[in-house]
Each structure stands twice: as structure tokens, then as C-alpha cells.
């Protein structure tokens, strides 16, 4: 306890380091959790939770399917409730951004809506229910738009000040639609807080609004409560299983399936969020080592008085644990606050790349808090373990002899052991990925990353000694250089650890930058190859993987017939389940993949089909993610689920696409439309006649067509890159946190080291060195450490970057990326690092130089 009170600043520093690490981890975990559980099944229903959920591999149930399900259920007493979902754009939102906020519209049948009267003390729900059931629902608005009844959440009503009877305008597909509020669902009735982004409609109304009669996306089964419920459920499951047209899940497994879609993204983010904690561990270790070195005489005295080594070790470990507890506690508060900001960044990425998320805020979660707290305490204990062991095992006489020299961290200098571990990492990098039910986990890649970070920790400190002869020529020029660089010859444990921490921070942050830069370079190349149309038309609000807005056939035909348009490629996309995993079926604008001029081929289709291939069979091309996820190759035959049954196609080629990691199989659009009986388009790529002005054509189409947005080629490219940058915004924040922690660590190391070397400063003062000279010497010393860390961090970042681009990314997402070294970012990092180090170490040197000599004697 005495140490904590006597050194409040260092205690605060240790706790802050742990707090920052725990906060980064906790905020990302909460944000991830919020983003993937944005819409749970509780949110998607009004009241009762379904007992079983039937989904269709083709993503769509027809009325015929519903009759089949009913037949299979035979006489089992249960309610079958089909559900239809789509997205709607808020018509009040202005702008053509690709990432407009969307509503999730859930079409429920009469049974699900009957829950409105489940708890209804003032009978308002009952009136709404009867209004829903009995009204014709569908009417024409004053300006001719379709109008439907809708139930909105309490959150939305509060946010927009809406009440029963009010109207709101949305865009469903490409049509402006008026929604008349029948009822505001009350959170206390259903014991669930519906988010502000969900709307409930009658399924028949929604089918009308989407012009898709008889369509439903899933079927929910509700069984009567009672002792027989589980027997009935088992029986129903038994009857419904073994039918290829649908799969039977519990709501939880369906939710898990959504979570599995984003698993690789979340896993990578979680690992990255631990970066600050890892760097923080080095600093705690350094701080503990400094404290032990400082208290050596005291330890030796205690040992000579008969205190056992175990008791000494326990005392130091308790101190570490205390720092861990205090820091983690602060980290949880910081992390929870940070999560409120992080959730928006993570949710927007999940929205853009994966699925619709309703998350607007992250809720406190006890299990995540316990995990983060444990991690913080474990990191602190692990960091304190080695210094504590060193303090306990050194004999008292030896401690007296060592005085303030050394410290266990001087033993960190093990370049040969580091080289051996690095080689082990190299072997691990070439290990095949570990297969699980959702895909591949790049275990070898993660192991290699861990081993390389460890190796860098052991090699980089030796770099200080290697730097000394390199800087030797400079020492002749001035006493400032002489003193500063002489410290590298005989570095203290604190120097070694701060270099190790900086190496790890720069290495991991640089590795991520390497990956992001490679990704960006590849994306730009892909965009320049693939996005060549003059205009891109989509329904308003469409622009992300989660958006379900489509353009009607009438709309895209009308646009295609414009006199200035030479060609219009219609794009369609349908989410499907292939081999039990979610993927996408998209349309190819041509029947022969060889004619697809703007595809960026990884494996180009052969102009002469192989002898084994069936030339009459429809051909498909797949993207890399599909190829790696489902382990398919050219000429393989795959069965695609469609509402018309399974269709077999032959894989003819593999193309590059970086829009999703779930995989895409592309087939001729005419076939896709026929299989799904759906002519609606997600977008159309418009090629203009020579001489036509894209802006003029755009404005002309928009003047007569509502509910769509049109982007010129330049705007679309800019927006795609904007979304790309937004995707990595969390990564950038985490990188800078790690770098900041490492710089703080170096500053802390310098302060501790300089305070211990105060006497040397007094000697230099005696020899006539000015305060400015001493401050500059400190700055140079800090700079030399920072640059050593930077050089080794750069080597580590190249290795980790390669690992991320070639191994982890390829195995986790299936994307081939073109390696590109981010020179500019790296030079910027060096400049920023140097400036921060100078700004933090020079004042420390100045401060120490002002100390009076007699006080130190």
C-alpha cells in the first residue's frame, strides 16, 4: 500500500495504461455485440418468440411451399406464420449517399399481429388490431402514392414525435409509399425495446408494396404452451426435416448464423482491439521492473530480516493485481463510453458489408465486462510476474551489490532465441487453415503473428546495441550526441522494454496499414476495371449488402429505353444458402462469361470448354470468396437453390470481387430472373451513346422518375472508396491508441531512467553543459530509442502485413490482394512519432537538469 501512496503518479500511469487497453477491448466487444444483435427475433416480432423458424436455401418461400409445409405438419397443433422482410429508405432523407440509413420493414401475418391485444389495459391495442385486420389497408395517398397501415416502435415515435394517425413517407423498392401509423408498440407490453429502425406491416400489404404477391422469406412456427410443447416441436421438426426446400432452425441458431456471417470481421477486430492491451503489458512490465529496481535495497533488507522469497513475490504480484483491478475498472467505464461511439462505426461497416443492423447504442454486458476485467488483471499479473520472480529469486547480497543497476529486463536481449521463434512463426504461416462449420479459421496465420511479435520483442532490444556503432560517427560532433548515443551501448531494462513496446506497436499498426493500403490499391484497380459504365442507377437508399430495395422492371425498362442510352446492364442479387452457409447469387449481364468485358478475372474462363465439361449446362462464374469458402474449382458442377428447385451449373471462371466475403456465384441474368420469377433489379449500369452528357442524362431521368438515385461513374467511385475508408475507421482509431500507449511508455521509461540518472545531469552541469544541451541530449536519446523501435517495427510490420495480405486475409475472406507498401503512411508515422517523442522527452530532460545537486547527495 505504501508504494501506491508514495508514488501516486506512477500508480496513476500504470492504471491508465491498463485502462486504455481494457477500454479499447471492451468497447470493441460491446460494439461488435451490439452490431450483430441489432435485430434479434424479439425485435422482429410483436411479442411471442417463435419456437421454430423455417428458412429456404433460395431465400424465398412461394405459396406452394407454404401448402407443402402445412401438409408436412399434418395435424400437429401449431400456428404457421409467414414473414416477409425488406428495407425501406426514409423519403425525408436527402442525398444520394450509398450508406443512407434504412428501416427494416417486417411483414407479419394476422396471427403475429394478434399479439397486439395480448396485454392491453386501455384497449388501444385492440382498436389498432381491428383497424389492421378489418381495414382494406391499401389506399391511395393524396399525391397518388400507395398508402399502408404500419405499427412503429416507441423509440421511433419518441424520436420523430409520431402518434397514431400520423403519416410518414418511405421508399419501398423504387416507389414512394405513405405509411399511416396504426399503433405505437409499447416497450412495456412486449418486454422488448424495439429499435427506432423497425416498422411492422401486414404481410399482404408489404407484398403489395413490393409487388411480389405470395412471397415470404421465412416461416415461423408457434406451438401451444404446456407440457406437450417439446413433444410437438420434436414431432414437427421430424416431419419437416429431410426436405431440401427448407431448413428448420430454432431462433437462436438462426441468429448464430447471422453472427457467423460477420465472424471473421469481428474476430479480426477483437484481435486488433487487444493491441493496446498487449503494448500496455510491456509498459506495466517496465514500470514494475523500475519499481523493483528502485526498491531493491528495501527487498534485500526484508530478505535479510527473514522474509521468504515467496512472500516478496506475493507482495509484488498483489501490487500488479491492484494496478490491474484499478485500471480495468476505469477501463470498463471508459470502454462503455467509447462503445457508444464505436458501435456506430462497427454497425455502419456491418450494414455496408454484411447485414442490416439496428444498433444505435451499445448496452452494458456483464459477461463482456467480466471478460475485459479478467483480461486486464491477467495482463497486469503477467506483466508483474517476471519482475516479481526476479525480485524474489535474487540473493540479498547480490541485490545489495547490484544496487540500482540492471533489472530483469536486461535479460530481454535474446536475439538468437528471437530468431528461432521467428523461424517457428514462418513454419506456422504455411500451415493450412483450420476448417469449422462456418468456414476457415487461419489458425496458422494467427500463431505466426503471435510468434513474430514475440520474436520482435526479443530481437529489437538488441537493436539498441547495434544502433550504437551506427551512430558512433555522430558522437564526435557534439557532446549532446556523445552523451545521448552512449546510452545505447549500455541500455537499461527500461530502454529495452520501451524499444520492444514501440516495435510491437509500430509493427502491428504498420502491418494493419500495409494490409489496408494493399486492400485499397487492389480496390482501386478493381474499380477501374469493373466500374466503367457512365451512370449507375439504383433505387434510393440501395448501396449496401444489407439493403433490399429493388427497382421494378417497369422502371429499369423505362430508363433503358432512353434515347441517349446505348446499353443498360441489369444487375440482380439474391441471398441464398449454399451447403448450409449464406452466400449470394447474382446476375451476369451476358450469357457467355467470356463476353463479360469488365470482370477482373482471377481464373479466366477458357474459350474452348474442356472435354469433361457439359457444354449444354448453364455456366456460372464465382468470386474468390465463394471458391475458397466452398472449395470449388473450374469445371465443378454446383447445385444452386432457387424457388424453382435446385439448378445445376458448371463453374467456368473465377473473378475478383471485394464487396462481400460470403461469396458470389454469377449466372446469366435471364436464367436468374426465370428461376426466381423476379425481374426487379438491384441496379443498372448504363452506357451512353457517344457524345451524350452523363450529367444531362442523369438529370433528365431523375426529372421523370422518383424513388431512384443515379450516380455518375466518378461519384460512384468516390463513394465506394469513402465506404472503404469508413470500414477501416475503427482500425485506424485502434492503431493510434496503440501508438499513443507506446509513446506514453517511452516517455515513462525516459522519466524513470532520467530521474535515476539525475546525478549524471548534475555532473554534466558541473562540466559546463547548458540546460538546453541536456534537454537536447534527452531528446536525442529518446529519438534513438524511438527510431530503433521504428526500424524493427517496420521489419515486423512488413512481416505482419505479408501475413495479413497473403495468409490471414486469403484464408479468412478468400481475397487475393495486391501487396502495396504504404511508404507515405510509414514516413508520416516516423515524423509523428519523432515529433511526439521529442515533445515528450525534451521537457523531461529540461526538468531533470533544473534539479539542484545537493538534494541528490
Amino acid at each position: 500500500m505504501r508504494h501506491w501512496t508514495r508514488h501516486p503518479l506512477s500508480t496513476l500511469a500504470f492504471c491508465s495504461i491498463i485502462a486504455v487497453g481494457v477500454a479499447a477491448f471492451f468497447s470493441i466487444r460491446l460494439a461488435n455485440r451490439a452490431a450483430i444483435s441489432g435485430f434479434t427475433y424479439f425485435d422482429r416480432t410483436l411479442g411471442l418468440r417463435p419456437d421454430l423458424v423455417l428458412t429456404c436455401p433460395s431465400g424465398q418461400f412461394s405459396e406452394e411451399d407454404l401448402y407443402s409445409i402445412q401438409n408436412q405438419l399434418d395435424s400437429i397443433p401449431c400456428v404457421m406464420a409467414p414473414v416477409l422482410e425488406t428495407t425501406a429508405t426514409d423519403a425525408a432523407q436527402k442525398g444520394d449517399s450509398l450508406n443512407l440509413h434504412q428501416f427494416l420493414v417486417v411483414g407479419l401475418d394476422t396471427f403475429a399481429m394478434s399479439n397486439l391485444i395480448y396485454y392491453d389495459p386501455d384497449s388501444s391495442n385492440e382498436s389498432a388490431y381491428h383497424a389492421w385486420k378489418e381495414s382494406s389497408h391499401h389506399s391511395q395517398g393524396e399525391t397518388g402514392e400507395a398508402s399502408y397501415g404500419v405499427v412503429v416502435s416507441q423509440a421511433l415515435a419518441n424520436k420523430r414525435n409520431l402518434k397514431t394517425g400520423d403519416q410518414m413517407e418511405v421508399i419501398i423498392d423504387d416507389r414512394n409509399t405513405i405509411l399511416s401509423i396504426l399503433h405505437v408498440s409499447r416497450d412495456e407490453v412486449f418486454k422488448v425495446s424495439h429499435p427506432s429502425t423497425i416498422l411492422f406491416m401486414n404481410i399482404v400489404d408489404l407484398q403489395r408494396a413490393m409487388q411480389q404477391t405470395g412471397l415470404s422469406h421465412r416461416v415461423e412456427l408457434y406451438f401451444p404452451p404446456g407440457r406437450d410443447k417439446s413433444i410437438l416441436m420434436d414431432k414437427a421438426q421430424g416431419n419437416l426435416e429431410n426436405n431440401q426446400r427448407w431448413t428448420v432452425d430454432t431462433p437462436q441458431t438462426s441468429l448464430n448464423s447471422n453472427a457467423s456471417v460477420t465472424r471473421a470481421f469481428r474476430l479480426n477486430l477483437t484481435i486488433l482491439s487487444m493491441l493496446a492491451l498487449v503494448v500496455g503489458m510491456y509498459l506495466i512490465m517496465q514500470g514494475m521492473d523500475a519499481a523493483i529496481v528502485r526498491g531493491r535495497m528495501e527487498i534485500a533488507t526484508l530478505r535479510s530480516l527473514g522474509i521468504t522469497p515467496g512472500a516478496v513475490k506475493t507482495a509484488w504480484l498483489l501490487e500488479s493485481l491492484w494496478y490491474g483491478l484499478l485500471g480495468s475498472g476505469g477501463g470498463l467505464i471508459l470502454g462503455w463510453a467509447g462503445a457508444q461511439g464505436a458501435v456506430r462505426l462497427v454497425a455502419s461497416t456491418v450494414n455496408a458489408l454484411y447485414l442490416q443492423s439496428a444498433s444505435e447504442s451499445a448496452d452494458w454486458n456483464h459477461s463482456e465486462a467480466v471478460l475485459a476485467l479478467s483480461l486486464g488483471c491477467m495482463a497486469s499479473l503477467a506483466a508483474g510476474w517476471f519482475p516479481a520472480r526476479e525480485s524474489a529469486e535474487t540473493q540479498p547480497a547480490e541485490i545489495f551489490k547490484q544496487g540500482r543497476q540492471g533489472g530483469f529486463m536486461t535479460a530481454l536481449n535474446k536475439p538468437l532465441l528471437g530468431a528461432g521463434i521467428a523461424i517457428m512463426g514462418w513454419v506456422a504461416a504455411y500451415m493450412p487453415p483450420y476448417p469449422d462449420e462456418h468456414g476457415w479459421i487461419p489458425l496458422g496465420g494467427y500463431t505466426a503473428a503471435f510468434l513474430w511479435v514475440l520474436a520482435a520483442t526479443l530481437i529489437a532490444p538488441a537493436g539498441l546495441r547495434w544502433m550504437a556503432p551506427l551512430l558512433q560517427p555522430l558522437t564526435g560532433y557534439h557532446a549532446v550526441f556523445m552523451y545521448a548515443f552512449s546510452q545505447l551501448r549500455r541500455p537499461t531494462g527500461r530502454h529495452l522494454l520501451s524499444v520492444a513496446a514501440l516495435t510491437v506497436a509500430v509493427g502491428m499498426a504498420g502491418g494493419m496499414t500495409f494490409m489496408i493500403h494493399s486492400f485499397e490499391t487492389t480496390m482501386i484497380h478493381w474499380i477501374s476495371q469493373s466500374l466503367n459504365a457512365d451512370l449507375y442507377v439504383a433505387s434510393q437508399g440501395f448501396g449496401s449488402a444489407s439493403s433490399q430495395n429493388r427497382m421494378s422492371k417497369a422502371t429499369w425498362q423505362s430508363i433503358s429505353n432512353h434515347t441517349d442510352i446505348k446499353r443498360a446492364d441489369v444487375g440482380q442479387i439474391f441471398p441464398i444458402d449454399y451447403q448450409g452457409r449464406k452466400t449470394f447469387l447474382t446476375s451476369m449481364p451476358v450469357s457467355n462469361p467470356l463476353d463479360w468485358e469488365y470482370a477482373l478475372w482471377i481464373q479466366k474462363p477458357s474459350s474452348s470448354p474442356s472435354a469433361s465439361s457439359n457444354t449444354n449446362m448453364p455456366v456460372a462464374v464465382v468470386n474468390e470468396s465463394f471458391q475458397s469458402r466452398f472449395d470449388v474449382k473450374i469445371d465443378d458442377l454446383i447445385k444452386i437453390p432457387t424457388p424453382k428447385g435446385y439448378k445445376t451449373v458448371r463453374i467456368a471462371g473465377v473473378f475478383a470481387e471485394y464487396g462481400n466475403e460470403q461469396g458470389t456465384v454469377a449466372v446469366d441474368r435471364n436464367l436468374v430472373s426465370d428461376w426466381f420469377q423476379d425481374e426487379r433489379a438491384v441496379n443498372i449500369a448504363v452506357y451512353l451513346n457517344p457524345g451524350a452528357d452523363p450529367e444531362e442524362v442523369r438529370n433528365e431521368i431523375l426529372s421523370r422518375q422518383t424513388g431512384i438515385s443515379i450516380r455518375t461513374n466518378r461519384v460512384l467511385r468516390e463513394e465506394v472508396l469513402e465506404i472503404f475508408h469508413q470500414t477501416f475507421s475503427v482500425t485506424h482509431v485502434l492503431q493510434w491508441i496503440a501508438i499513443a500507449v507506446a509513446i506514453a511508455g517511452l516517455t515513462m521509461a525516459m522519466i524513470t531512467s532520467l530521474v535515476e540518472r539525475q546525478l549524471e545531469f548534475q555532473v554534466m552541469k558541473n562540466l559546463g553543459m547548458t540546460r538546453f544541451g541536456m534537454a537536447m541530449a534527452t531528446g536525442m536519446e529518446g529519438l534513438a530509442c524511438a527510431w530503433t523501435g521504428f526500424i524493427f517495427g517496420t521489419i515486423l510490420s512488413a512481416c505482419l502485413g505479408w501475413l495479413l495480405v497473403v495468409v490471414i486475409n486469403k484464408q479468412a475472406f478468400g481475397w487475393t490482394l495486391q501487396s502495396a507498401i504504404p511508404w507515405k503512411d510509414h514516413v508520416s508515422l516516423l515524423v509523428i512519432l519523432s515529433l511526439f517523442v521529442l515533445a515528450s522527452t525534451i521537457p523531461v530532460g529540461w526538468w531533470v537538469s533544473t534539479k539542484r545537486m545537493h538534494k541528490e547527495e
Partner: protein, 189 residues
């Protein structure tokens, strides 16, 4: 060569620190060559320490990360003296203190006597006008203490440098021409 003797706590070291400009006196005035040191800027005092005043300490206070040669060269580097001139001066002084064969050693590789010889060389290298020595033999055995006193007597006298020696030792004060006593902060001349 003047010795100042007195019991512990009498203010000998404080006086030396004030004279060396590394501490400020609470009252009184302090002149160096008719210039009031109390009125000097820190940079001017640093200038005095670079060229006019040198110090030798009981605990040697060599910079631990510099070799013997570099420790001796260091004051010249602070004065920005060209490298070739520095080398000549260092070689010469190393020879005088008998440390040529130990010039690449670090302080922790030296004996107490060797460390003090290095400290004397460091003090002499700038050819100061005054050397302030605070118990230079206080941390040495009698044989090494005798050697150091001989060295100081020979080198400092030979160069005509004024020496102000703070000591408890009668043997050390014997090398000085004058001995003053200090008691309770007062100098008894």
C-alpha cells in the same frame, strides 16, 4: 592550493557548490574575477564551468556509459573544440595520469583509484583557472589516496591552477599552502 577543513554539516560542500555555480547562496555576494556570480545568467555560469572552474568529487561521478577516454574528452566536446585537438589533449592527459592502457574501459571496470585519476584528468583537460575538489580521497584506501594526492600536487601545481580542497584528512590538507576551517557555516581564516 587551499584546503578547507571542518566537521560534517559545517557547510564545506555547500560552499563548494556555490563557488562552482551549481547552487545559489541564500545571501551574500560571490565574485569570480571581479564579476558578481549572483548576477550572472545561467548560461554565463555554465560558460564559467566549461572554461574556468572544474570539479573533482569524492564519488568520482564519471558518466557510466562513456569510456575513460570519452569521459575525459567530454568537457572539450561541450566547448565544441575540434576533434583533432581534442584527441591530442586527451592522449596527453591520459599519459600524465597513467591511464593510457585503460582508455577504452568503462567506469564500472575501473578501481576507485583509476576512477579518481580519470576524474582528475577530466578536470584538468580544459585547463581551468580553479579546481574545486570535494573529499577526493574520501572513498579511497590510504595507498590510493596517497597516489591521488601526489598526482594532484604534481599536475595542478605544475599547471598553475588554483585548488580549493574540501577534506577531513590532515594528510590531504598537507599538500596545500593554506588551510581554512569551517564551523557552523562560517569560514575561519
Amino acid at each position: 592550493m587551499t584546503a578547507i577543513m571542518g566537521p560534517s554539516g559545517s557547510g564545506k560542500s555547500t560552499l563548494l557548490h556555490c563557488l562552482g555555480g551549481v547552487d545559489k547562496a541564500d545571501s551574500g555576494r560571490l565574485f569570480f574575477r571581479e564579476r558578481d556570480m549572483m548576477q550572472m545568467l545561467p548560461s554565463e555560469i555554465a560558460g564559467l564551468r566549461r572554461t574556468q572552474i572544474a570539479s573533482i568529487f569524492q564519488f568520482f561521478y564519471l558518466l557510466p556509459t562513456l569510456t575513460v577516454e570519452e569521459n575525459i574528452e567530454f568537457p572539450l566536446q561541450i566547448q565544441s573544440i575540434p576533434q583533432d585537438k581534442r584527441r591530442d589533449s586527451v592522449a596527453s592527459i591520459l599519459k600524465q595520469v597513467g591511464m593510457t592502457n585503460r582508455k577504452q574501459a568503462f567506469p564500472n571496470q575501473l578501481s576507485g583509484g583509476e576512477q579518481q585519476r580519470t576524474a582528475i584528468a577530466r578536470a584538468l583537460i580544459t585547463s581551468p583557472k580553479v579546481i574545486l575538489a570535494d573529499e577526493p580521497t574520501g572513498n579511497l584506501d590510504s595507498q590510493n589516496g596517497r597516489l591521488i594526492l601526489d598526482l594532484m600536487q604534481n599536475l595542478i601545481c605544475a599547471k598553475g591552477i588554483a585548488l580549493l580542497l574540501v577534506t577531513h584528512s590532515q594528510e590531504a590538507s598537507a599538500i596545500c599552502n593554506t588551510t581554512w576551517k569551517m564551523q557552523d557555516g562560517n569560514l575561519i581564516v
